[in-house]
Structures are given as C-alpha cells and as structure tokens.
Amino acid sequence: MRPRDQQLRDHLAAEYVLGTLHGRARRRFERWLEDDRELDAAVAAWAARLFPLAQALPPVAPSARVWGAISTRIGAVQTPATARTRWWDNIGFWRSLAATAASLVVVLAVLLALPGREQGPAEGHMVMVANRQAEPLWVVSASGQQNRFKVKTLRPAGMAPEKVCVLWLIWPDGYAAPLGELPERIGSIDVRMPKGLARDPMRAQVAVSVESAGAPVTAPSRELVFKGPWVSL
C-alpha cells in the first residue's frame, strides 16, 4: 500500500536518494516511481538537493579499459536508421545476441589461431558474434581458401531446441546466401558458399538469423539478429 501522506512520501523520496531505503523497500519504492509522477518529481528534487555532495568530490580518471569495455558493449551493429531500437526491443529471446565492436577483435585475434601458411584473398578477415553481455559466441573467419570459412564456437548460445542460428552472407544488393547452421557445441567447423555462386564473399556482410530447426533455408525468414562487415585483422 503506497503512502498518501505528503510528508511521508517526501521523506521516502529523500531516503531513496540518500540510499538508506534499501532491500525490498527500495525495490517497492522503485515500482511506485514508475507510475507516480509526483513521487518521481520528489525524487528528482532530492537528487538535485544532494547532488552538490557528489559534485564536490575530486575527480578520479578511470582506467582506459573502462571505456574499452563500454564501447564493446554498446558497439552493436551499425545498420542504418532505427535498427538499434528494433534490435533490442523486438527480438525476444534474441535480445541477448549482439554484434561486436572492433575493439574486441584485437583481443580475439589471440583466440583465433588463424592459419598462417595458407594464402588467399580473404585471409585475415573475420567477424565475431557476441551476446548482449559481450561474451563472444562465434568467430567466423576466412580460411584462406576462396569461398570457405571457418566457424569457431567459443561458447554455446543456449538456443531453444526447436531453434537454430543460421549464418548468411548478404551482399549490398540484398542477395543472401546461407552458409549453414551455427553450432552449439564448442569447436570448429568449416562452412562454404553455395556451389556455383560467383560472388565475392568479402563484399558481403555476415549475418545471423534465427530459424526453425529442420526447416528448409533459402532466405533469412526472420529479422536478423546480427549483421556486420568483415573486419581485417
């Protein structure tokens, strides 16, 4: 039961901002705030009153790694327009799948063990697919052989049994070619472009969609959960 008494409400707002409202009482108060604009305004007023305390602290520069981690976590796919919002809001379970920022690529180069001796136009290109916690799930790398790619599964994505992730190449003109299912099991597999397809894979973006297991895959049937360009190492 939320209080009606003005003085009590204001006092709870003050203790919420101060931090002394804790545990279940804090969580309950936060629920009230969601639809109680007056209470929300009281909290804002108290935050403003006490803000000078925070502002009075001498600044401390955080280590550069903090920004590295932040930019990795927010560096989702840079598809145009409102793709970011749709990505987070509409995908349900696949909210957890996100793309990487280039800054992680350097770290991951260590994990890759790219074949050094093989030659080929595509060698040294990769794409990493990570979940929302910036945990890498798969690394797709060019094998050095044209039209063949290596998929390294770093951790299971935890798909529902009836769902699979499918890897695609999508060219700027919208043409999409499936490369195959992305495995759940940790390890490496090889995938290849469909035979007879005369397109340069390096001009395509790498994408991942969620499909029903066992269904024939000819075009991405759902919204893509990942799309990103090759990154040159």
Binding site: A54, P62, S63, W67
Partner: protein, 201 residues
C-alpha cells in the same frame, strides 16, 4: 567509434571541462540528446567529459577500484540505453547521470555486503568508515548553500547524512558504526533531511 584520448591526458582535460560544466550544462544536454539517437561520437564525448566526476562517486561508495570500474561501465551502458528517457525538464544532465551511477553503486555494494547486525561486535568492527570526511571535498561556488545548510545540522545528523550518501550505508550499518540504536539513527536522518530541505528551499 572513436576512443577517448589516452587516460593520462584525458584526466586533466576532463577535470577542467567537468568543472566548467558545473555552471553550464548545455553541452551535456546536447550530447545526451545525440546519445539518445545512438550517436556514438556524442556518447564518447559525454564519457570523456563526465567519467572522472562519476568515477569519483563510484569509488567513494564502493571503495574498491575494480568494482567501481564495473559500476561505471554498467552505468554508462545504462546511460547509452536510457538516454532517450532522460527528461531535461526534470533534472540536469549531470544530476541524472550521477543518479544512474549511485543507484548502480548501491546495488553492487549491497549484493556483496551482507546486512549488518548491530549486535555483532566483530561485524561492527568491519564497518568503521570515514565516508563522512569532508576535508577532501570542494564545493563549487553555486553549491556552497548545501555546504552552509549541512553546517547548520547537529554533528550527529550531518555525520549520518554524509555516511549514508558517500558510504552507501543503511540504517543498521550506521547504527553499528555510530554505536547507537537503529531508531536513533533513523531519527537523526529524518530530522537532518527535514532541516536540510527547509534550509535549501
């Protein structure tokens, strides 16, 4: 996206700019608005300008560099995601961001710190805290009023308010530290806050 400049030179720059923003927060309004539109450059600038001030808040509460870094990281990811919900009519940008950081810090603190039993002297010993120290804080000119109003509080009331705000302590923890009953702490805080409000408004 472009990374901030190296931390060594960023720290000095940040300090200067963050101070000047105490009085003029319009660049932060603009950067937050652009962050809401997923402008990563704006977000990067926002980080450069505010992170040192906000990190100080996290460090003060968590008293642990790594946890404070975790806190700052999560808070900024939240700022990135929630920039669209920021309401300029309700609070200044830095006030809003400070709230995001403090709430995250308090959550992290309490995940790791069990509730203190006021009657356990050993636990009590671990909760000595000097968070109410104000010798290293410097109020900006426009914030002197809060400093003055704090000065008008009784010592015990002021200590409680500062320990709670800076140290993230709950009532039982404060009671343990100050060796008084929880009820007394609650009264001190309630009266202290009431008096602050009267003095400030």
């Amino acid at each position: 996206m472009s990374a901030p400049t190296s931390s060594a030179c960023a720290s000095e720059d940040n300090t200067e700019v963050a101070r000047s923003f105490d009085t003029d927060s319009s660049p932060l309004f603009d950067l937050l608005a652009r962050t809401a539109l997923s402008d990563q450059r704006a977000f990067s600038q926002l980080y450069q300008l505010t992170s040192a001030k906000l990190f100080a808040v996290a460090i003060r509460i968590l008293k642990h560099e790594e946890r404070a870094e975790e806190c700052l990281q999560e808070a900024f990811v939240n700022i990135w995601r929630q920039a669209g919900t920021y309401n300029a009519d309700k609070s200044a940008p830095m006030t809003w961001m400070t709230t995001v950081v403090r709430n995250r810090a308090l959550d992290l603190l309490r995940q790791r710190r069990p509730e203190v039993q006021a009657d356990n002297p050993q636990v009590l010993e671990n909760f000595r805290d000097d968070s109410d120290r104000t010798d290293n804080v410097a109020f900006a000119d426009e914030h002197r009023r809060l400093e003055d109003c704090l000065g008008e509080l009784k010592d015990a009331q002021r200590r409680c308010v500062l320990l709670a705000y800076y140290g993230g302590h709950t009532h039982p923890e404060l009671a343990a530290q100050l060796q008084v009953p929880v009820g007394t702490v609650k009264t001190w805080i309630r009266r202290g806050l009431q008096q602050l409000k009267q003095c400030l408004d």
